[in-house]
């Protein structure tokens, strides 16, 4: 199992568009992927779940991945949260 803490860098919070891209990226991996924020942990399969977490710009959260391709998945999400999300 891999866990990493990120800070949300997209300008307007985790809204529909970044959330839907995140869901479709997570779908590409076999591992179970979830986000933990303020003691709530939700699976990255549900757009409603991701959006209703209500993570705001500048706040931190954990990404938890477990499964056979967890390393690749973490690498992918790392790129998403550190770089790509800034232009969404």
């Amino acid at each position: 199992m891999l866990t990493k803490t990120f800070v949300l860098k997209c300008p307007i919070g985790l809204h529909a568009r970044p959330a839907s891209i995140l869901i479709s990226e997570a779908e590409k991996f076999k591992s179970e992927i979830s986000i933990r924020y303020k003691n709530k942990e939700i699976s990255l399969k549900s757009i409603i779940g991701v959006m209703t977490l209500g993570i705001k710009t500048g706040e931190s959260f954990d990404v938890i991945i477990s499964g056979e391709d967890e390393a690749e998945a973490m690498e992918r999400l790392n790129k998403f949260f550190e770089e790509e999300i800034q232009s969404l």
Binding site: C10, P11, I12, G13, H15, A16, R17, S20, I23, S43, K45, S46, I47, I48, G49, M51, T52, G54, S87, L88
Partner: protein, 575 residues
């Protein structure tokens, strides 16, 4: 009995009622329990409804291509994502299995819970997402209760669509040949139904209330969008009377439309340039087909909204060149980026503000994000080699801002010089007058601008301190308020004093009664939604400038809004 409504789109429509059934009453499902032996059957029924709803969305997405905007189509893509959402679906499966609630009841309960999750977020954007969940829930519910919307794409006779309200999903596939009118229970003149009806030029009544439930499929209906009344099953003499009225109305509309190629000059020979406001290059053709002689406002925000990256210089150049080439030597005013206020873009790092209309928007953003601004200016300059383009800066509040913007334009010019690219070196540079300080100091601004264009929507809201989005105070929002009229007059006089042209691109210009007043005040150009051009032209051609000037003088001396409204109404009998 006749049913009263609000006429949201003018004209008279006659046809047979096609009633869109309202959804079944939810109440009777909320507590309906099933037996344990029925769990599987109920789950299957629910899954089938979800599959049917997905299919329904797929059909809409296909039909909507080319009819709805990309943005509106994306809504249905998002709905599909919600249909597959495990949180919502697991919740429903759980209610069916463990609480033995029927499929409808489980759906209603789950939608309520998810909605309250969104509403709890205390964020305006998220609150609106709650509406999406509700719409998806409504569609699954309709499918469960065997109430999928009637097929409006294949009507075989002249029809009047009767419904509680119409959604974009209902209207995308309308059989335009046979739809002769709309009558809906809900909504106001700015509802989706009203807007689509005006776009399609189909008579429509909104806000008819629950009386409309008495209408049955096949009833003969007359929609009178002028008086705002629906006449079910009319007597033969009433029907005859309305057929005559309809002919007369249609003849008038034709007559007004036929003014397309006539010049827009007053009875005593004063030229008033009538132009169109557009938001995409494609709309330029519509301006020409309505007899417009220029573009008074080309909004460029479409290039920046709903996308992941900023538009390149080349992409913008293509868009501006397209307009320049369609319009040839007719003047086209391109307004530089006017984002912020009610138009937000994720591209520009605009933080949430308490007062976005008084905040970081339009030229204020451009003078901060110089590279974005300069890219746009280079694209406009390059396109200026292909037609009669002018550039206009929005939200200018003082002379310093105008100077700064012009300095950036100079930089853009020298960059093009270095690249040896052709452009119009004498391109006219104007400003929007929409901030009261600019209207008051128009004499100073006129020394360094080549033209003015008055934006009444913002000028009005800033001058009257009325948020035009706030429904409680709409009565205060009136461009005929004497304070606003005095500002307009001041701007016109200051411009003419310096010999520069002054136009208007706010909604005020599209109303023929107001247009006469504005011409009387001395405006050189009126720019409006293309569909209004023939109606304003009809007014221009039937009044003398002398009379219009007198109307303006009287209006200014009356001072009170109600009296000015009455004056304009009375005078409108003359043209």
């Amino acid at each position: 009995m006749n049913i009263k409504g609000i006429g949201a789109s003018k004209g008279i429509g006659i046809g047979k009622a096609v009633v869109l059934k309202a959804a079944e009453d939810k109440g009777k499902f909320v507590d309906k329990r099933i037996l344990e032996s029925e769990i599987e059957k109920e789950t299957d029924r629910f899954n089938k409804a979800v599959a049917d709803t997905a299919k329904y969305y797929d059909e809409i997405i296909v039909k909507a291509r080319g009819v709805l905007k990309e943005q509106e189509i994306q809504v249905f893509e998002a709905y599909k994502l919600l249909l597959n959402d495990p949180i919502l679906m697991d919740m429903i499966a759980d209610f069916i299995k463990n609480e033995l609630l029927c499929a409808e009841g489980s759906l209603i309960k789950a939608v309520e819970q998810v909605k309250s999750m969104f509403l709890a977020l205390n964020d305006e954007y998220m609150r609106q997402r709650a509406e999406d969940i509700e719409n998806v829930g409504k569609n699954i519910f309709m499918s469960l209760t065997g109430n999928m919307p009637a097929d409006l794409s294949n009507l075989y006779e002249d029809s009047i669509i009767v419904a509680e309200d119409l959604s974009p999903a209902d209207t995308v596939s309308l059989d335009r040949r046979h739809v002769k009118g709309f009558a809906v229970e809900k909504g106001g003149v700015t509802s989706h139904t009203a807007i689509i009806a005006r776009t399609m030029e189909i008579p429509a009544l909104v806000g008819c209330g629950s009386e409309l439930k008495k209408i049955n499929n096949g009833d003969t209906l007359i929609v009178d969008g002028i008086k705002g009344v629906l006449i079910p099953n009319p007597e033969p003499d009433v029907l005859k009377e309305y057929l005559d009225l309809q002919n007369e109305y249609n003849r008038q509309v034709e007559k007004i439309k036929s003014l397309k190629d006539e010049p827009s000059i007053t009875l005593d020979g004063r030229k008033v340039l009538l132009a169109g406001n557009i938001a995409t290059p494609e709309e330029a053709n519509e301006v020409l087909s309505r007899g417009g002689e220029g573009i008074g406002l080309f909004r460029t925000e479409f290039l920046y909204l709903n996308r992941d990256n900023l538009p390149s210089e080349d992409e913008q150049f293509e868009a501006y060149r397209k307009v320049a080439e369609v319009m040839k030597d007719r003047p086209c005013i391109i307004r530089t980026l006017d984002i912020g206020g009610d138009k937000q873009s994720a591209l520009l790092n605009i933080p949430k503000e308490e007062n976005p209309f008084l905040g970081y928007r339009a030229i204020r953003i451009c003078l901060t994000e110089r590279d974005i601004f300069k890219t746009q200016l280079r694209a406009i300059l390059r396109a200026s080699a292909f037609g009669n383009l002018r550039v206009m800066f929005p939200m200018i509040s003082c002379i310093e801002e105008l100077r700064e913007a012009k300095a950036v334009l100079k930089e853009a010019m020298s960059e093009l010089d270095e690249r040896n690219i052709q452009y119009n070196k004498d391109i006219e540079v104007g400003i929007m007058i929409e901030v009261p300080s600019a209207a008051i100091s128009a004499d100073i601004l006129a020394k360094e601008a080549d033209f003015f264009s008055i934006g009444t929507n913002d000028l009005c809201q800033y001058t009257l301190a009325v948020d035009r989005m706030n429904e409680k105070i709409t009565a205060l929002y009136n461009p005929l308020n004497i304070g606003v009229l005095r500002l307009i007059k001041n701007v016109i006089d200051a411009a003419h004093e310096r010999g520069i042209e002054v136009g208007m691109c706010g909604e005020m210009a599209s109303n023929p009664e107001y247009a006469v007043l504005l011409i009387g005040l001395g405006l050189d150009e009126l720019s409006m939604v293309p569909a209004s051009i023939p109606y304003v032209k009809q007014a221009v051609r039937n009044i003398s400038f002398e009379r219009a000037a007198n109307i303006a003088k009287t209006a200014l001396s009356l001072g009170e809004t109600d009296k000015i409204i009455n004056l304009l109404k009375e005078e409108s009998n003359a043209y």
